[in-house]
């Protein structure tokens, strides 16, 4: 196999990885703080994609339209997240995790159908913004500029998130909420607001990743349940609640999938699920996470 081919394969894996990272980081954040697997995270991502299409449709395609759409879609999804957290999620925190899981699943059902109702079942697509439409040659393999852009965004968000969590007052509060909610509450911090804030931020990330994926993937119903499983695997591998864990989890997932296809064609899906099971068995809290 030619080195350029292997490099292309590697870059392909990395692109998948960085996309997944955008989505999975929000999932991981919510889990880390609230101990809830948010199945609806994939639905937020899908709504983000549809909203982006809608805004591009309203504004003019091309030009700054795409960037307006990305930010608009992410904000819209963040707003939706705020409403859902305040109205419903809040009263489930004390309940068994079964109820929380099922509530997020109910959201999957409702949002999935709502998207079908509003945007139909046809495939929709958004064209790549003009600035990033070209491609470059690296080591003999062609890389679209847009993919490189995503590859830059991923680590930037990971680093930014890490910086905020570990080097700021807000981050300190969040980490405290992660460790001991009741203690923080009795110390006078407004834990409810922290929770809402985290949920909103996570929804924002989901919406943003949904918007950013539109130039390279068509928007279809069902993209929500497909992505959530992948994001879930990433988070399990890397460790729930850990930013860098999620980052490396995505890289591992992307590369295993990318090279798994070369080694066992047809069984690359199996290999990522098996990897997830093995990690859960050996180190349930993931490669970079901490035990609950």
């Amino acid at each position: 196999m030619a080195p350029s081919f292997l490099f292309g394969q590697f870059m392909g894996g990395l692109t998948t990885a960085m996309f997944l990272f955008l989505i999975a980081s929000g999932l991981s954040l919510v889990f880390g703080i609230m101990r809830v697997i948010n199945f609806a995270h994939g639905s937020f991502y899908m709504i983000g994609a549809y909203l982006a299409w809608q805004i591009v449709h309203w504004v003019h395609p091309g030009g700054v339209g795409f960037w307006v759409a990305a930010i608009g879609a992410a904000s819209g999804v963040a707003l939706m997240g705020a409403v859902i957290e305040r109205l419903f999620f809040r009263s489930l925190y004390g309940r068994e995790e079964l109820y929380q899981l099922l509530f997020t699943y109910a959201l999957v059902l409702i949002l999935g159908d709502a998207a079908k109702f509003l945007w139909g079942t046809q495939q929709l697509s958004v064209s790549t913004p003009a600035v990033l439409a070209g491609s470059v040659q690296i080591f003999g393999s062609t890389q679209p500029l847009y993919n490189l852009f995503i590859m830059a965004i991923g680590p930037a968000i990971a680093f930014g998130g890490w910086l905020v969590l570990n080097r700021s007052g807000v981050g300190r509060m969040v980490r405290a909420a992660q460790m001991d909610r009741e203690m923080l509450d009795s110390l006078g911090a407004n834990v409810g607001t922290i929770y809402t804030g985290m949920f909103v931020f996570s929804s924002f990330l989901a919406g943003l990743s949904g918007a950013l994926v539109t130039p390279i993937q068509s928007i279809v119903p069902g993209m929500d349940v497909l992505i959530i499983v992948q994001a879930f695997i990433v988070v399990v591998i890397g460790g729930m609640g850990s930013f860098w864990g999620t980052f490396w989890g995505s890289v591992i997932y992307g590369e295993v999938l990318s090279f798994g296809i070369l080694i066992f064609p047809g069984f690359s899906l199996f290999s990522v699920f098996a990897l997830m099971a093995v990690i859960l068995i050996v180190r349930p809290w993931g490669l970079f996470g901490r035990p609950l």
């Binding site: 699943y105 349940v225 349930p284």
Partner: protein
């Protein structure tokens, strides 16, 4: 043991000597189920078989969920393994059902033993995640291993078992093969449910409930918690496998879709909708879901949406499920009776929305669907229900007014616009925009009353509601 001992913390509907508890319900249901091919249409038989299979599947899940307290999010894996083993043996190897069916149970049990061995080592959420991972592994294999499972094409046209022996029984000879297979399924499912019932009520089952309620204490009194959990896991998996084996033949094929993770959520919804604290809850849930699905899809293609709304209502208003809610209704505790039927006292904002609007909305939705689909009986039901709803609604509204120190008579001001508008609409035909405006005008007073602030502390109608004081924490 001559009499089943029921611990105090286990709630039993109609326990004691009420009339309802003396009727042999299970026998009646069983006899009714057996007569469906004669008294119902082909489609009824089809639905009945679907319900029966889902009931077994949901009861097997409930052995983990309700009895042992293990949240398995991948139970469909065992259903799928059972379906594939039975299907492959019968279609590819042309083995008889009498071999394939037990083999499906055995194969599923082995798989459950291996996967369960790892799963029960993990606590709570990690357990749920690993079961999900295993079910996705099964899905990935089913989806991609073309030579054995048929891959994304699945295994179509699984043969019916040879039921010639049944044709020689008087009265059964004239039935179609589908109906004969239905009777066989009912028999196998009834036996399976009886066995599961026995298991739940056995000392073994009691240990499982102990583990659910307090694993540490169970371990402390010498119970090997993991071994018991594993045993429950294997039993639950095996019966899910039996359900899957029957389902493969019933639906004339096994497909990878059967094993996708969202199916695990569906059976979980059935279990919780029925009521996971009761043995017969999950079958009621299966009945409700299959029937509702059939009713709703007549009107709209957005069945998942309806299911999602039902699920939200269930989680927030009726966590005990249908059987739990029925039990509460039959033995309505005095506090509910007072809440719905006594004008004295106060109702906080939170109670008004959560304890009145959400539950009554869900109940009204269900009653409307039932009423709309059952003719004269439905009309009577709708009338009786409307009277009840109006009465209880007024009671709650009055108490909400009390809560913000208003006179209860203001309720007339709430109803007046609605009555006037209804009268006016009876006289004229209006355009959509005006109609919408009028609708909002009708509803607005109810929302305004719902949002009135509670008077802090006691007022002339009674002490501040306990929940409004403590719930803010």
């Amino acid at each position: 043991m001559t009499e089943t001992v029921i611990p105090e913390n286990v709630r039993v509907i109609g326990s004691g000597h009420s009339l309802a508890s003396r009727i042999p319900w299970t026998l009646i249901v069983l006899i009714f189920a057996c007569t469906v091919p004669w008294i119902g249409s082909r489609y009824n038989t089809f639905l009945a078989e679907q319900i029966a299979i889902d009931a077994l599947f949901a009861v097997s899940l409930n052995l983990l969920l309700g009895t042992t307290g293990l949240v398995s999010f991948g139970h469909v894996a065992y259903f799928g393994v059972g379906a594939y083993v039975c299907g492959i043996l019968m279609k590819t190897y042309e083995l008889p059902f009498a071999v394939a069916f037990p083999a499906a149970g055995l194969g599923t049990a082995l798989f459950a033993l291996v996967s369960g061995f790892f799963c029960v080592r993990l606590i709570k959420l990690y357990f749920a995640m690993l079961t999900l991972a295993f079910s996705q592994i099964v899905w990935a294999i089913a989806y991609k291993w073309n030579d054995v499972t048929g891959g994304d094409q699945g295994l179509p046209e699984i043969p019916f078992p040879n039921l010639d022996w049944m044709s020689s029984i008087p009265g059964l000879g004239s039935l179609r093969i589908n109906d004969q297979f239905y009777l066989l399924s009912i028999f196998l499912i009834a036996v399976s449910l009886a066995v599961l019932h026995r298991i739940v009520r056995s000392p073994f089952g009691r240990v499982l409930t102990t583990i659910r309620d307090n694993p540490e204490r169970a371990a402390f009194i010498g119970v090997n918690v993991r071994a018991y959990q594993l045993a429950a896991f294997v039993v639950a998996g095996t019966f899910a496998g039996f359900a899957g084996a029957l389902y493969g033949i019933f639906s004339r094929g096994v497909f990878a879709d059967y094993v996708f993770w969202s199916k695990s959520a569906e059976v979980m919804i059935m279990t919780i909708l029925g009521g996971m604290d009761y043995f017969w809850g999950p079958p009621v849930g299966a009945l409700a879901i299959v029937w509702l699905n059939q009713e709703v899809t007549d009107y709209t293609e957005y069945w998942p949406f309806v299911l999602g709304v039902i699920l939200v209502g269930l989680l927030f208003a009726f966590p005990g499920g249908i059987v739990g809610a029925l039990g509460d209704a039959l033995t309505m505790p005095p506090r509910y009776r007072a809440f719905l039927f006594a004008f004295q006292g106060r109702v906080s904002r939170r109670q008004y929305w959560r304890k009145w609007w959400v539950p009554s909305g869900v109940v009204t939705l269900v009653v409307s669907v039932v009423a709309a689909s059952t003719g004269w009986f439905g009309l009577g039901l709708a009338l009786a229900y409307s009277v009840l709803l109006l009465w209880a609604g007024t009671v709650v509204l009055v108490k909400r007014l009390h809560d913000s120190s208003q006179s209860g008579w203001l309720v007339l001001a709430v109803y007046a616009p609605a009555l006037l508008i209804q009268y006016a609409l009876g006289q004229h035909n209006v355009g959509f925009v005006l109609w919408l405006t009028l609708l909002v005008m009708q509803i607005a007073p109810f929302i305004v009353v719902g949002c009135l602030p509670s008077t802090s502390g006691d007022n002339r109608f009674g002490p501040a509601s306990l929940s409004s004081a403590t719930m803010t924490a």
